[in-house]
Symmetry: C2
Subunit: 379 residues, 2 copies
């Protein structure tokens, strides 16, 4: 490192001066990292979203969004009417995600599939129809070219399955020992259909919370390989594209679909906490309604993990108006990407910002954000 | 690694079964990697660019471009007239780049600046006005949060200087020893103004080749730190945004500006060879016209490097019609991002696909692609 670097006083982010694994876990420490370092630098205009035209070139950018992981920015395309402040112009969704999963191949998927579906799903959660992806490969010297070919072919197949095109790419190689085989970044562009408005800000008391399927498969499939557990045949990742499901839900619920979130790092708990916080709403979840399969439950018990915090790669929660809930749930049931969808809770105007688990005997424990995550390098 | 993985016969890419540093160098081995692995998987429709509507969702995608590093895909925005095959619709440029430079801070810049300007410049080389960037951080456990803050602030300043917004982001953390401090991916979106058509396919015999400034500063600035050479004060990276310069050149030359390329990995030699190959044209360069400063020349001599192959981060070549060359060159002279711009050569209909260096005594040696690159992890 350049010896000209002069360190100022160390800046504790949650009492740390260096990066911890938990900073990448989707929990409280990642939130602190984003709010402590990224937002002050990149999000400076987020408090005055209508002044975005000030920098000249980027005059189309009116809704600067903070760099929140697993979120897509929705931006008006200049010259299509979107800049006038109405919703009538063409709106683009833009998102990015890096993938560092270990191992690269796991039951039910691999890093290539994950890299495509992860970004496709982030676009879908903004209500966008995914269109184009970029692919940035970071390779370690000595990595097998045959494995690389398999991963690339898996990405191509996943892109076909999700109806997107990989249109631009980049490859960098670092010396042996300075990476771990292959890391992949995908960024994606999609189009938000007219009238679609998906955002935590639209969540309101009374909204019904729908979950698209059983929890914890992806995290436990990866962990089963890493820990050498031998129930892999029963434990496959749920890794799947969700854009088609979202399209079906929007067709059924229209503007009554208020908010969507896929359940990745930090699992259902992280997703609900983020939305409760962003929407300034209370959330009540019926714990007994949340589906967890027997193999996932057993593996979680064995490893001392809570399935509510385990990562998924093919599940979403939806916040919909009470009037539309049955319609949207029926549309989910009819779509193959929803595996036993259920109603799991409601939004309340009590305990703002908190997620409460309710059991058969009424309200119970608060479902909090973890500090970090239970399992690093799950995606 | 999952022991279920079964390797088929190893696939030699330039006689290698594993990734070599040279696969990331911008030379022949990277070309082989792209043509051997990425294009067969991702570029399947590139030979039939008008059939892109077949996959339904991505029906706006008509010009699928192969994932060539340091290149932006230009894509029509659906519903704006671009899908009809004319150039009248809104066109978007999309590109991605990962940054792994070592050291992270070097004379004249740092990885954050590089990550912003590199992607801004890739957009500009498609004639696009850069608008939005994503930022994907890949952090090694134990990396200093104070250094991360400095890098992020440098990115924010660079984005302001280039007139773009960082609108979405992602952070992943990998365990100690599995990365090298910080890697950054930026992807970018820009808008291609109506009538602008920048492409190697537009290069034709007689075109004049203009270079925007002296060569080799970025590569030698990085190498000077890595090799512990003590002439750093004279050797600063040329790292700079080029979008404003391109705008000025297009204002002066209009459609007479045929092709643009920034000189990154593999330097001037790689850029010219790529264009000669893609344009199926011959290129003749007057070696004595190519500016190299004394500190760069000395450092190159000391390290046994050829400045024509050394990476730059703030230089471009332009292929323009003979009639417009003086006008475009004058516009370059008037812009601060061009540092002593010059005419360095012409396009011929002889020796198709080759770059020939001409000296005072006429034609001389062929300027070939290197196999890899002289210096890994320069960007």
């Amino acid at each position: 490192m350049n010896d000209e670097i002069k360190l100022n006083c160390p800046v504790p982010i949650g009492d740390h001066a260096t990066v911890q694994l938990a900073h990448g876990g989707g929990g409280r420490m990642m939130k602190n990292l984003i709010e402590g370092i990224f937002l002050p630098a990149f999000g400076e205009s987020s408090s005055s979203p209508t002044t975005g035209g000030g920098t000249g070139r980027a005059s189309g950018t009116r809704t600067l969004q903070p760099p929140v992981p697993h979120d897509a920015a929705v931006l008006p395309v200049p010259g299509t009417g979107g800049a006038s402040g109405t919703q009538s112009g063409t709106r683009l969704a833009f998102t990015t995600d890096s993938f560092v999963v270990n191992p690269l191949f796991f039951p039910g998927g691999d890093i290539g599939e994950l890299a495509v579906y992860g970004t496709v799903n982030d676009l879908a959660m903004a209500g966008a129809v995914p269109a184009w992806l970029s692919a940035g490969f970071l390779l370690e010297e000595g990595f097998s070219l045959e494995l690389l070919r398999r991963i690339v072919e898996s990405m191509a197949a996943a892109a076909r399955a999700a109806g997107v095109r990989i249109v631009t790419g980049d490859t960098k190689v670092v010396d042996r020992g300075k990476a771990d085989g292959v890391f992949i970044n995908t960024s994606g562009i999609g189009w938000v259909p007219e009238g679609v408005e998906i955002s935590p800000e639209r969540v309101e008391p009374g909204d019904v919370i729908l979950l698209s399927g059983d929890l914890g498969r992806h995290g436990m499939a990866v962990m089963s390989v890493r820990e050498g557990l031998r129930f892999e045949s029963d434990l496959e990742s749920d890794c799947a594209p969700l854009a088609g499901l979202v399209e079906a839900m929007l067709a059924a619920g229209g503007t009554e679909v208020h908010c969507l979130r896929d359940l990745t790092r930090g699992g259902l708990a992280a997703a609900l906490n983020e939305i409760a916080s962003d929407a300034r709403a209370g959330i009540e979840i019926d714990e007994s309604a949340v589906p967890v399969t027997e193999p996932v439950a057993s593996a979680c018990e064995l490893l001392g993990l809570d399935p509510l915090y385990v990562a998924n790669e093919g599940r979403l929660v939806a916040f919909v108006s009470p009037a539309s809930a049955d319609r949207v749930l029926a549309a989910m049931h009819a779509h193959p990407a929803a595996i036993g969808p259920v109603r799991i809770g409601v939004v309340t105007d009590a305990h703002t910002g908190l997620v409460e688990l309710c059991g058969p005997f009424g309200p119970g424990r608060i479902l909090d954000l973890l500090s970090g995550e239970q399992m690093p390098r799950i995606c």
